[in-house]
Amino acid sequence: MAKKLPAKDVVIIGLGWTGSILGYEMAKAGLEVVALERGPWRDTATAFPSTYAQDELRYDFHHDLFVQTKQTTLTFRNKADQTALPIRSWASFLPGNGVGGAGVHWGGQTWRFLPTDFRLRSHLKERYGKKFLPQDMTIQDWPVNYDELEAYYDRFEKLCGISGKAGNLRGQIQGGGNPFEGWRSDEYPTPPMKQPYGAMLFADAARKVGHSPFPMPAATLSQAYVNPLGMRLGQCTFCGFCDKFGCGNYAKSSPQTCVLPALMRFPNFSVRTESEVLRINLDGTGKRATSVTYVDTSGEEWEQPGDLILLCAFSFFNVQLMLHSKIGTPYDPQTGQGVVGRNYAYQTVSGVNIIFKDKILNPFIAAGASGMMVDDYNGDNFDHSGLGFVGGGYMGATQTGARPIATRPVPADTAKWGSGWKRATAETYRKALRLTVHGSCYSYRDCFLDLDPTYKDRFDRPLMRMTFDFHDNELKMSDHLTNRLADIARAMNPSEIAVAPRKGPYTVTVYQSTHNTGGTAMGTDPTTSVVNRYCQSWDVSNVFIPGGASVFPQNHGYNPTDTVGALAFWTADAIMTKYLKSPGPLVQS
């Protein structure tokens, strides 16, 4: 029997980026807020200080900052006619754990989606006609547009202090920035990062080929910065341990560096760590959430009542909690009916590896978001007529370091061990560079999340089951873009080049990205979305999913965090200015 605790105004499930932002906004307004976090408390000084944060084995290979699969995992299959099996060790994606969530170990690549991404289906139909899209592609327009979100992107970028160069200031194209980006109301809060040698070689070659390269928008800051909450961030030192690691230098934007110290000042806010939420409880009508049941590490169950429940867990764990709480209709791939678990999507990442004969790149000098980029082939920035696919991505020199257990490039004909391998590794390490395509992944009828019929977690709840494979559209896109990247790579005059477009089937055994999207899509129609344009559940109006990537209707050719942060502020504003004045559905279905 769960022990009942005193009620709070707001209960937040998960204290990562969205939980911290919502927690801050709600606590600032004077509400009584409690956050429940599955993992431990983490702060920079004690959890990942620069004295020992640079430990590749511990963090990249033993997953010290991630959810341990023993705690929970997913089952996976490519197709619905296969039996899903548990992911016993993470590889393809790396869900975070503890205070800060995946915001602790992200790389800091901070992109806005394109204005056309927000009206994707309408835009493609208008430009290419009704029959251009594959039949089973279930992409849909977002219920918000770029112009509405711009101010919230700006807010999140200022919270983080993002380093970059604007390419479009209020409609005026700016030299040195991304000429394809949506309009920006303001410059980036801090100037672009300095760049490693490999990135500059890429930029020179990209210009030669006719592109306009620009610096990656970076949450690894080019200079010290004080954010609007008074948090002080330091300057990135290019230590090369960023993505998959915590930053010991206060230089990477994270909940720890940007929000938590300010949030913890509020006496009306508290966080309970090592507390895993089992479900959201509903009243007899099923239309109102009354409380949240969670369990501590001794196995004791607690019931935390609250007026407003904010589901701020990592993407597919939001979907899992909606299903365990029986909020919304589960998606049925047979009929295409139902919404929870629908439109799961991912990211189509591919690359070109090059080796130089005589250039010393010092590839270990890098940041999670250093690099020079080209955006000509993202979204619908190029004409797709006759190409046989839709979508795209950015490409560039994104190498985030060269930690040697994982990154030891050798020429293609080298053995994997022995004296030949040893010589080639010593000769090549400093002269090799990885270039990347970061491609979109659209949604399909047969890619979805549901509950596994066989495998259970430690609380005897069914694991989340992922059914996903890359479709021809994405593989063709990857082939086309990876070859355009190879055109630039060849202009760099390498002595060796390896072109590797993404190939099917999708595998969970190779790291690609932790950009898992969809499953609780936001939309204008309750038959094709789980939450409305304010990230509010259509079914239970005091439950919000404020911006986790599970609300994306499909995934675009950019990293998700900037949009996640913007939607968190967007939802916070809707709650403050609309919901609290008149609790109930903010959009009539």
Binding site: C239, N268, S270, S275, S298
Partner: protein, 250 residues
């Protein structure tokens, strides 16, 4: 951190409920509350690595250790550039890994059923690394003794050792414990981890692996070098525990 200091450092969820728990269950609530007004700070909130000390094998038998030393020294052979896997301490690294949380997969999801899936679904074996090493090392010696007139792997010539490893890699030898290629891939991966991980874990002795390729290790600040293009980085590597020449002898 010891178990006792951990339980002492745990704070009660709420005073009243904690008293209830202690009374009823005889233990504390294992959830922690951090109330606003104070920014929490906890020493050792995570589990930093425990430096590997020289000493006897923690998991391997003497025979197993001899075989592993021989294998790692063929995977990464000593040559003019310096010592190989054995000299770098790769066997010590693997021994300590198998004796720790990696060895028994204690952080992994190990619930049955264990079914054979597609390659894209990832490994599904119920056999944890320490068991795999034990049975496969025994099976490897069994194979070598049957094939090479009673000689164990460690007693073979380096050419014969390379021949056996190469056949394992290609899947041409099926060991009596059912493994072969899988075992080869495991030990290759763990050897590379040992050669290139921070020396705190017992391998990469004297930062041999890092010096071989020119990786400066756990350096923290390259700001003065970010725009020094096409120049070899001049400083020697450092590890989490610094570098030998920083330490005072004795």
């Amino acid at each position: 951190m010891s178990a006792s200091s951990e339980s002492i450092s745990r704070r009660n969820l709420l005073a009243s409920t904690a008293i209830l728990l202690v009374t009823i269950l005889g233990r504390q609530a294992y959830s922690r509350t951090y109330s606003g007004g104070v920014l929490p700070w906890e020493p050792s909130g995570t589990q930093p690595p425990v430096p590997v000390r020289p000493g006897p094998w923690l998991y391997f038998t003497t025979d197993e250790a001899a075989t592993v030393d021989a294998i790692v020294d063929r995977l990464i052979p000593p040559d003019g550039s310096g010592p190989g896997g054995k000299g770098a301490g790769c066997a010590v690294f693997i021994d300590r890994q198998l004796a720790g949380s990696f060895g028994d997969s204690r952080h992994l999801y190990m619930h049955p059923p264990f079914a054979n899936g597609t390659p894209s679904q990832g490994p599904q074996s119920p056999i944890v690394p320490k068991e795999r090493y034990r049975t496969s090392l025994a099976a490897l010696d069994e194979y070598c003794k049957a094939t090479f007139a009673g000689k164990s792997f460690a007693a073979l010539s380096t050419a014969q050792q390379d021949q056996v490893l190469s056949a394992l890699e290609k899947g041409e030898i099926k060991l009596s414990d059912g493994s072969g290629k899988e075992f080869f891939e495991s030990i290759l991966q763990n050897t590379m981890e040992g050669f290139f991980a921070d020396p705190i874990y017992g391998g990469n002795r004297d930062m041999i692996g890092w010096r071989l390729i020119g990786f400066p290790g756990a350096r923290y600040d390259y700001r003065d070098w970010i725009e020094r293009y096409n120049e070899t980085y001049p400083l020697p590597p450092v590890g989490i525990m610094g570098r030998a020449d920083w330490n005072t002898p004795g």
